[in-house]
């Protein structure tokens, strides 16, 4: 009897445990916290995409770095130029005040490396979010382990006289409620964390988007410069080719006109002679012959001209072909580089959306979807491969 009464005094702690965890459960949402691992992975890949976009710009900046001068310096130099008198002309060295140095690729690289390094912080941040989610979701498991240990201790002594199965049931239930309580707290902490980090993340996002805009603009300027310099390098040849094109077109038109003029054939002359019984057209064959010989001479002259043009064209052809090849290479690089930068820009935009989506998903306890970000990053990876092959 005494033991029974003692047993009754031992039971209340179990009740404490259950009451405690029941309270936790009442507060808890009792749903697992959304998995944010996709966001972490995509953030790591985004960092790689931003790095690749910077590499494309860096390579372009270094491929042809030519110094120049400002417009003001050019105007001063031009004013000092005198036909044939070298002493009047201001040398390029004298215009150092208005010099415009080649783009500082080292400075760009250093700044871009700093940008990419800053994204490391975003990766670690994403991992820490994942850590909170894991802690919340693993809460039930931890609670279960502790509860199992307590149950083992209690069943070993069986001080309560309560069947071990009942003990297990009580402790398991307690563990469940503690776990759910942890999930609930983790969910709340996650919401608070994401909420308070929101403005900083938005600022990071805006700054990264600005960097991508800068990178794209810089890349376009660099390509623009290569194209202009290529045109200047080959201007002599392309100008000659254009001149030959026009001349050849004119000559060909003239030639076609000459051929189209109806000329009396020998058969026509004979027919006319046989038709004209009185022989009144006797002068015609002579006139036709003069006309024909003049036309023949003109045709011969045009044909000769076209022949000379062909020779000239063959002489300039290798240079024009070289120009076309180089221009085509620049265009290839332009296309591939802009594709990489454009895709990285899309990935940055998708990353911003993904963070907002994660905030909403945590609030609503539904799965986090980073599919658009993942797709954007996959696109960047494919484009980087293509760009590297160039």
């Amino acid at each position: 009897m005494r033991q029974r009464s003692r047993r009754e005094t031992v039971i209340p702690p179990y009740c404490h445990l259950v009451i405690l965890v029941l309270a936790g459960c009442l507060l808890a949402g009792c749903t697992p916290l959304p998995n944010t691992a996709g966001y972490t992975t995509a953030t790591i890949q985004l960092k790689q995409a931003v790095a690749a976009a910077g590499s494309a710009v860096d390579a372009e900046l270094r491929s042809e770095a030519l110094p120049g001068i400002s417009i003001e310096a050019a105007q001063r130099k031009l004013a000092g130029m005198g036909g044939g008198d070298a002493s009047n002309s201001e040398s390029t060295d004298d215009t150092s005040a208005g010099s415009s140095p080649a783009p500082d690729a080292d400075k760009f690289k250093q700044s871009w490396d700093m940008t990419v390094k800053s994204l490391d912080a975003m990766v670690v941040y994403a991992q820490s979010i994942e850590g909170i989610v894991d802690a919340g979701n693993q809460g039930a498991e931890s609670a279960k382990h502790v509860a199992a240990s307590v149950a083992n201790l209690l069943s070993a002594v069986d001080v309560t006289g309560v069947a071990s199965k009942k003990t297990e049931l009580v402790t398991d239930t307690g563990a469940y409620f503690i776990g759910e309580g942890t999930k609930f707290v983790a969910g709340k902490r996650l919401e608070e964390t994401l909420d308070s980090a929101g403005p900083v993340i938005a600022a990071v996002d805006a700054a990264v988007q600005q960097q991508m805009e800068n990178a794209e603009r810089l890349f376009k300027y660099s390509i623009m410069q290569h194209k202009k310099n290529l045109r200047l390098d080959y201007q002599g040849w392309t100008k000659q080719e254009k001149y030959l094109d026009e001349k050849q077109m004119n000559a060909a038109t003239e030639l076609v006109k000459s051929i189209k003029v109806p000329r009396p054939t020998e058969g026509d002359g004979e027919a006319k002679r046989s038709d004209g019984a009185s022989g009144e057209n006797t002068a015609q064959p002579k006139q036709g012959s003069v006309c024909e010989s003049t036309e023949n001479a003109a045709v011969t002259q045009l044909e000769s001209l076209l022949g000379q043009m062909d020779i000239a064209r063959k002489q300039i052809a290798p240079h024009v072909a070289e120009y076309e090849t180089k221009l085509s290479q620049i265009r290839e690089r332009e296309k591939a580089g802009l594709a990489v930068i454009g895709a990285a820009k899309n990935a940055v935009a998708a990353w911003s959306t993904a963070h907002q989506e994660m905030v909403r998903a945590v609030e609503e306890r539904r799965p986090v979807s980073v599919e658009s970000l993942t797709a954007a990053v996959v696109e960047v990876r494919a484009l980087i491969e293509r760009w590297r092959e160039l």
Binding site: P67, F108, K117, A215
Partner: protein, 174 residues
């Protein structure tokens, strides 16, 4: 073939063109980076076209005209270099801003990591706290045991109390 023949004509034409290019770029600068880029593209195109049209009258002014062409090349590169270096300056500024923001993110991350550690221990702490409540009840139960048969139970209760105390200390110090 060309309408700008001879050094003097080339110089006059380039003077006019440079003034127009400078004015166009200045106007575009006020309209934003896209307008500026488009204008620099079209205006440097005009300069390149000019270089293609500039022709010497004869060998005597060929070197001067060539010098004008070189000047055009220098100014084309100069205009684009200036725009590129301006953007590189912006990239540098933006990188510094990002670096500062990264420090703020780092602080958030540390808070998150601390939070995660706490959350990992939370269920354990709660279970231990709940078990601690049992200790008092077990002590009462032990005090109530007097018969010789209860010695074994007493010892077991002692072990439970010790185990719970040990676990509690371990969790608190974690």
């Amino acid at each position: 073939m060309s309408d700008i023949i001879g050094f003097e004509k080339c110089r006059e034409a380039l003077e006019r063109l440079l003034a127009q290019v400078a004015a166009a770029i200045e106007t575009a600068r006020r309209q934003g980076p896209d307008a500026l880029q488009a204008t620099i593209d079209s205006e440097t195109d005009r300069l390149v076209d000019f270089a293609g049209r500039a022709e010497p009258i004869d060998d005597r002014d060929a070197a001067d005209v060539e010098e004008i062409r070189q000047l055009v090349r220098d100014v084309v590169n100069g205009i684009i270099n200036a725009a590129e270096n301006e953007i590189i300056g912006q990239v540098e500024e933006c990188a510094k801003e990002l670096s500062e923001l990264a420090k703020k993110v780092d602080r958030r991350t540390k808070d998150n990591e601390r939070e995660a550690r706490n959350l990992h221990l939370k269920p354990v702490r709660e279970a231990i706290d709940a078990a601690t409540n049992m200790v008092e009840a077990l002590k009462d139960a032990k005090d109530g045991l007097t018969d010789g048969d209860d010695d074994d139970v007493k010892a077991k209760i002692e072990r439970i109390i010790a185990a719970i105390a040990e676990a509690k200390q371990a969790v608190q110090s974690a």
